[in-house]
């Protein structure tokens, strides 16, 4: 077994995978990565058959090293990363030699960055998942000094890869499909919801995020409503009419009415919206919603098609380095910005 050591931790760093589906009847929400697509993209980059457990880094990363040669994939919210001082490209794989220091700074956009070793983290699991579920005390944010078991990289010699990624880190429009309680809101309220430019509010975590706007979205049926089963993506309108979008660690039963459900493929856009980011919603019919909820194996295949070699000409590397060290103006995400276009 290899290990990954956390020398310094700057953000809220947790082990995450795709979570624990199938326990809703026992009151356990799925949990897992806040941005599931980021783990799918990491798996595609690493040539894995299924998403692997990795580190979710909320806000910022830290300083990491491994004890064996291993590739790591860096995905999700772009963060300035360096390996022994050399800038690394985000949305790419990199080979880490034993003892080399991988430094991951704060998010430049978005909230959740991911560091996934090629073999996957091999930390203890519970109910078939290694994911920390902070809301219910399963696992905990990692602290400096943590040493995590990693399955050895099956192919450390594999060339570095890069993946083209749509920009889901600076807000935008999320598709909303009707849910069981959409009919409890009148048409004017639903229209107003879909014409409002929200800002991601200051309240938010892995359970859900607040949508901030002057307007309130109230159902006349809210008083006396029976509690209902709730899940990630649901847009719940709390007692004072302020909406929240529920995320991976949400509770499983709630008494507040829900306006609708953000389609699965747009949930990363919500999770990755930093406080203040502008978010809008567009109501879609069942057919369009179904098209936006593709199976994870389909998404992984689609992500693999967006990967390509990260070609490096060894002769160019010293020049590139001196440029970046002397200039000191590149943020390390220039290429990432290109990817986003």
């Amino acid at each position: 077994m290899s290990t990954l050591t956390l020398h310094r931790v700057d953000g809220i760093v947790t082990v995450q995978d795709m979570g624990r589906p199938g326990h809703l009847a026992q009151g356990l929400s799925r949990g897992g990565a806040a941005d599931r697509l980021a783990l799918i993209e990491a798996a595609a980059l690493l040539g894995a058959r299924a998403p692997l457990a990795g580190l979710e880094m909320a806000g910022a990363g830290g300083v990491f090293s491994g004890d064996a040669p291993m590739r790591v994939a860096l995905t999700g919210a772009p963060m300035a990363a360096t390996l022994d001082g050399v800038p690394l490209r985000w949305n790419a794989t990199h080979r880490i030699e034993p003892g080399a220091r991988l430094r991951i700074a704060g998010a430049e956009a978005g909230v959740y960055g991911y560091l996934v070793p090629a073999g996957g983290l091999a930390t203890p699991d519970w109910l078939g998942s290694r994911a920390a579920h902070l809301a219910i005390g399963i696992g905990a944010p990692l602290t400096a000094g943590a040493v995590l078991a990693v399955t050895p990289d099956p192919a450390p010699e594999t060339e570095a890869r890069v993946i083209a990624v749509a920009n889901r880190f600076q807000g935008g429009t999320a598709r909303l499909m009707d849910g069981p309680q959409t009919g409890l809101f009148d048409a004017e309220t639903l229209d107003a919801f879909c014409t409002t430019a929200f800002r991601r509010g200051t309240r938010g975590n892995r359970q859900g995020v607040q949508l901030s706007a002057g307007a309130r979205f109230v159902s006349a049926e809210a008083a006396g409503l029976a509690s209902d089963l709730i899940g990630p993506g649901d847009v719940q309108s709390t007692g004072d009419g302020v909406p929240y979008v529920l995320l991976a660690e949400c509770q499983t039963v709630g008494g507040y009415p829900r306006l609708g459900t953000v389609v699965a493929e747009d949930l990363p856009l919500i999770a990755q919206a930093a406080p203040g980011t502008v978010l809008r919603f567009r109501r879609v019919g069942a057919e369009e919603a179904a098209r936006a909820c593709r199976d994870e194996t389909v998404l992984l295949r689609e992500a693999a098609a967006r990967c390509s070699s990260l070609v490096r000409d060894p002769a160019l590397i010293p020049d590139l380095l001196s440029y970046q060290l002397i200039g000191g103006v590149t943020r390390g995400d220039d290429l990432e910005q290109d990817d986003a276009r």
Binding site: P21, G22, H23, L24, A25, Q26, G27, L28, W126, L127, I136, G137, I138, M177, D178, G179, P180, Q181, T182, G183, L184, E221, G224, L225, A226, S227, D228, L229, G231, G233, Q251, T252, V253, G254, T261, V263, A264, A286, A289, A290, C293
Partner: protein, 246 residues
């Protein structure tokens, strides 16, 4: 909540891989019984493509193969309507838990106020909870956490206007004819009438969340020092006894 409000089952969208059958918008007792009947019927004869079956308080949620959603919905709605029309009683339980509980005092700080509202002594109110034919109606909010009901109509107590900042793990709280048993320290707007040593969620236990919707629940009054001693049970079962009835 009235016993005879008409039920009008609705087939509702719940994502591309789900449907919800809802018997009522409000917490009608008849809807809660209908949920248990429909969930038991579905469990006995699962439709093609069923991935997850979740009984809620007044609704049943199904997670399905997305390709099966359109085919399953109409048949389930017809079954739900048939159940609603017959207004069945709860199906016979297949399991029963007996859970020791210390009522009143520091273990049930709100029992006196509850008893006063019911016009009873604390002992009589506690005895009424212990005598009630209770079921796990649904599990949720937190892992393993049961919503238990229904108590007699007189127990239709409103929630408190102010949240109690912290009820301990094992607190048995009451409102709107229901009991909730907290698995962890929780803020609550319900009234705490007792304390149990049983923990509905223990991640390290072989069965972390042992209760199931439909389970019969019986509370057995026990002295506070006995509950305190049972709380030392490393399994967190706290003296709870499970009988398989079927």
């Amino acid at each position: 909540m009235t016993e005879d409000a008409p039920l009008s089952p609705e087939l509702l969208p719940a994502g591309p891989d789900g449907i919800e059958l809802r018997f009522a918008r409000r917490p009608e007792p008849a809807a809660m019984a209908a949920v248990q009947v429909l969930a038991a019927e579905i469990a006995a004869a699962p439709p093609e493509g069923l991935r997850e079956l979740v009984p809620g308080l007044v609704s049943v949620l199904l997670r399905l193969d997305p390709a099966a959603v359109a085919a399953v919905g109409p048949g389930l709605l017809a079954r739900a309507r048939a159940i609603a029309a017959t207004r069945p009683a709860l199906p016979a339980p297949t399991r029963r838990w007996t859970i020791p509980a210390a009522f009143g005092g520091a273990e049930g700080p709100d029992l006196a106020a509850v008893a006063a509202r019911l016009g009873q002594s604390e002992a009589a109110a506690a005895a009424e909870i212990c005598a009630a034919e209770l079921r796990v109606l649904t599990i949720g909010f937190a892992p393993g956490q049961p919503y238990i009901g229904l108590l007699p109509e007189a127990w239709n107590l409103p929630r408190l206007p102010e949240l109690t900042p912290s009820a301990p793990a094992g607190a048995l709280v009451v409102a709107v004819r229901q009991l909730v048993l907290f698995g962890a320290t929780s803020a609550t707007g319900w009234r705490q009438v007792a304390q149990v040593a049983f923990r509905p969620f223990r991640p390290e236990r072989a069965e972390p969340m042992p209760l199931r919707a439909g389970d019969a629940i019986r509370f057995a009054a026990a002295p506070a020092d006995q509950i305190a001693a049972l709380a030392g049970d490393p399994q967190g079962l706290g003296g709870a006894r499970l009988e398989v009835l079927a």
